[in-house]
């Protein structure tokens, strides 16, 4: 699958490169805090922030398995789905749907950013959003 097959659901939060997806964040040059999603000023010292792409890997902090449909859906796509929090090296914590096997969602597990389709556009391309899955190997 190449980037031309897919479109980010939210281009303000997610960019699709040929070598993988990345979350779009910000970094404060004054205090060094990083943020997701992007913002204009640091939330602590109001300094204008710089755009960054966040690390594509992190560590799973906590996870749950959800057995009811998410907002806007009346039925489950599958039996259920995982939701968790992933800590990125920049100090940013991201809440996300989880990919991979539920048995692998153990706190402390290294995770990698991936994408999953949420809809299909009229031209056949897939609309995708971010998720994290256990890093292989």
């Amino acid at each position: 699958m190449t980037t031309t097959d897919r479109e980010p659901l939210n281009p303000e939060q997610l960019v699709l490169h040929d070598d993988g997806a990345a979350l779009l964040g910000s970094r404060c040059p004054q205090c060094g805090l990083s943020y997701f999603p992007r913002r204009w000023e640091c939330a602590v010292d109001q300094t204008p922030v710089e755009d960054i792409e966040l690390s594509r890997t992190g560590v799973l902090r906590v996870a749950t398995y959800v057995s009811v449909p998410s907002y806007g859906k009346n039925v489950l796509d599958a039996e259920g789905y995982g939701v968790g929090e992933v800590d990125l090296p920049e100090g940013v914590r991201v809440q996300s749907v989880l990919g991979g096997e539920p048995t692998s969602w153990v706190p402390g597990t290294p995770m990698r950013l991936t994408v999953h389709p949420v809809d299909e556009l009229e031209d056949g391309r897939l609309l995708v959003t971010h998720q994290f899955a256990p890093k292989q190997g």
Binding site: L9, N10, Q13, L33, Y35, F36, P37, R39, A43, V44, R61, V62, A63, T64, Y65, V66, S67, V68, S70, Y71, G72, K73, V83, G84, E85, D87, G91, R93, V94, Q95, S96, V97, P107, V118, D119, L127, T129, H130
Partner: protein, 379 residues
Amino acid sequence: MREVAVVGVGMSPFVAETTQSLREQTYRAGRAALDDAGLAFPQVQAVYMGYLWEPTMTGIRFLKELGLTGVHAQHVQNASATGAGAMLEAVRAVAGGHADVAMAIGFDDMNKIAGAGLSKNSAEGVILPAAFFALWAKQRQLDYGTTSETLARIAAKNWNNGALNPMAQRRPTSPITFEQILGSRMVADPLTSMMSAAVGQGAAAVIVTTPELARKYHPGRPTVLVKAAKMRTETMTEGHVFAGPVVGPQQMTRDTAQDAYEQAGLGPEDLDLVQVHDAFPIEELVYYELLGICPDGEGDKLVLEGATELGGRIPFSTDGGLIGRGHPGGPTGLAQIWETTLQLRGEAGARQVADPQVGLCHMVGGGSVCVIHILQRAD
């Protein structure tokens, strides 16, 4: 700042469904609060109306059922904390001298949340409250070894408190056991369907005034003073999550409670009963600690000792809480004030706490905000 007292409270029962219109439920709650206060609507000088899931203008339209007096009236909206926020504005109106009598009134039907403009795609990345609070529970298991049984015991307590409240949505006819709670359908591990807030509709209203006027209207009835009315939004914390969280860091409740205790000149040791935003039992468990009832990590022990049950050292969610009494949205925080006022007056019937002097009401609202009121009985 002037002192403020609750002079009237009223509710329309919280129910899963009813043929009664929301307009009528709202009218009946407002009428009940006026009757309880012994006031006529023309004496009300400011109204704050809270709801989430009805179209714009609905509150002002419903208000006409109580009379056309030209009264100052504002809509207040703050997610789950909408009713608590309306209460806070009514208190501030009286405290600031802008009104001698102010009303907060809330109504809603939480079943309409699904139609609240969340399309399939706009909802992606927004995790369900159940999933969000399941993450709190999972984190708590890691930090303190909390068991599902502890969570189920809190939920069972609130179901059984609801059975004693004529306004509660869930009124089980026989006692609910923690085993039944554990055995119900899994929603988001470890939270089950019977651990989830009761989703329904209803209305509630509160009227506040000065203590002098409250005593004048009701000589001989205990006066219920509003000793603290405080709200906060989030402050930056380590690992702060900006995208998607239902509510912000737990620190927000701790900080708001600190503000409220300072304003009241009271501490957690002075509380005789507490209402919290127990959409799931994990919330009530962590609020024991964030409100200062016990040290961090010792909330589980309170549950196993029965300290937060009716008859325990510090009863929580005496009217059933969000789990038992229900959580329509707009009126939820006002139902907490209704319950605490009745308790402090000694009018809470089968669920009456023995001679309470001080009660605390806590709500969080998505976005997020925290609102805390402390009420105290003054004879």
